[in-house]
Amino acid sequence: MAIKTEPILLNLGPIHPSTHGVFRMRALVDGEVITDIEPVFGYLHRGIEKLAEQKSYRQFIPLTDRLDYVASMNNNLAYVTAVEKLAGIEVPERAEYIRVIMSEIQRIISHLLGIGSFFNDMGTFFTPFFYMFIQKEKLTDLLEMVSGQRLLFNYMRFGGVSHDLPDEFLPALNTFLKEMPAEIDKYERLLKENEIVLARSKKVGILSPDMAINSSASGPVLRASGIEWDIRKADPYSIYDRFDFDIPTGTVGDCYDRYRVRVEELRQSIRILEQAVAGIPKGKVLNPVPLRFRPPEGEVYSHIESNKGELGFHVISDGSDKPYRLHIRAPSLLNLTALRKMLTGWKIADAIIIFGSIDICVGEVDR
């Protein structure tokens, strides 16, 4: 005889220590088990797509930093390559290399934060998070040296990058690349075999491959379910076809696999960085373009492999100096499509872990 229980409507509300920003989940909870959960969006909806229609192409660049504020370089890259494809601007060789270096550094920073906050939700009192943060501070130093800012860089322009690398950038990057693999091994020893981590994340929140494809997930969430789809390999943009690296994929598609895929991607990014630093040529870094330049009329969709997944910019121009319509394909929003199916049936503690393993950034979800 089942005990009659009365469900509670619980708000894992906008202000909650582990919702990675202002994301809200209205959960109908029966004791500990979640019977139904409804994500509520819009607490950080700043109407960036509407603002884009009132700004010139160049004035929109600082806004792209604030989309996924942990992947500011990749947002810039996605937007700038889209407009370059539309207007046919070519980029000097050195600028392409600099863009790849910056994009990979940004991917390492974002994965470090993603993994760190995944373990924060699991309860380790900020310790692995701060170890990863020490590494992130080193990378932030490098990016601040290049662009002058620590988090939102506004570094890339149409036709290249705004400033050249200072001369002590490459040696500093080399020392970082030499010591980073040892750090990653340390994190592995700290967390990879930890029994409590295995108990909490193995076979939890499984996203089956066909459900992943059907719910248009992308990035580490899609690859953890075993589908080998990475834009840098499938549709190489910029000069990614010159570097050799491989795409880590998971097998089961549970929280543990998502964590493992992100750690492996750290190693692959280091491999790319080493090759890029070795091959960077001399030369100018920017083909200047007027402040209010007018791309030809037309429509373009260009995508890159951002940290959270496929970040696409659909730019529609009517020949004037302001974009007519600019749609941003946000990987974090689409990774959340299957959230309800992944969470129902699990307990609240698991819901936090599964949500943390998807690693969204609310700035990109709500735009």
Binding site: E6, P7, I8, L9, G13, P14, I15, H16, P17, G21, V22, R26, L28, E38, V40, G42, Y43, L44, H45, R46, G47, I48, K50, L51, Q54, P62, L63, R66, Y69, V70, L113, F129, F130, F133, I134, K136, E137, T140, R150, L151, L152, V362, G363
Partner: protein, 194 residues
């Protein structure tokens, strides 16, 4: 309205929508900053008793922040509490997520009208001696999103602000300077003010 489990999610949304509309129509002018103490110092420098000094010292050196972080400035606050710019030295690394225990709100991020009632409710729930730091351009005047249809142009529309920190995002040291300024303000608080 009592939100019961059987009420459909649509009318919960509608109820919250009305809250937002009320707040939006009522908060059109910025709330004046509690900066009375600045001028008071010049007029008649109030005599701080030793009890005041001890209390203020206690409050100053254990400010607990509320985790009401919204957007990008969050990561500058986290790097502030991380190993390099460690804020635990000022006794502030205790992040209490319940408003009852916290006594400082740092507005790390853009405030949208949909989020405004939540932030206002959290501020009202906080126990009395409480302060607010407006961090970053979005906190001060809405920053780059000031003229968007869904963004509150500056936290001072709904909260009285004690310290403004420009920057987008302000560096961790700028945040530390802001906190130093706030600690000076807490020191000068007299018991009479309650």
């Amino acid at each position: 309205m009592e939100i019961r489990t059987d009420s459909t999610s649509l009318d919960i949304d509608r109820h919250e929508g009305n809250l937002i509309k009320e707040l939006r129509s009522s908060s059109t002018k910025p709330v004046t900053e509690p900066s009375g103490w600045l001028s008071e110092d010049l007029k008649r420098n109030i005599f701080l008793t030793t009890v005041d000094n001890v209390l203020n010292w206690g409050r100053k050196s254990s400010l607990w922040t509320e985790t009401a972080f919204t957007a990008c400035c969050t990561f500058e606050f986290i790097s502030l509490s991380s190993s390099r710019f460690d804020i635990a030295r000022f006794g502030m690394e205790v992040l209490r997520s319940s408003p009852r225990h916290a006594d400082l709100i740092i507005t790390a991020g853009t405030l949208t009208w949909k989020m405004a009632p939540q932030i206002k409710r959290v501020y009202e729930q906080m126990a009395e001696p409480k302060w607010v730091i407006a961090m970053g351009a979005c906190g001060i005047t809405g920053g780059i999103f000031a003229d968007s249809y869904s963004v509150v142009p500056g936290y001072n529309r709904i909260l009285p602000i004690d310290v403004y920190i420009p920057g987008c995002p302000p560096r961790p040291e700028a945040l530390l300077a802001g906190i130093e300024l706030l600690r000076k303000k807490v020191e000068k608080r007299s018991f009479l003010q309650g």
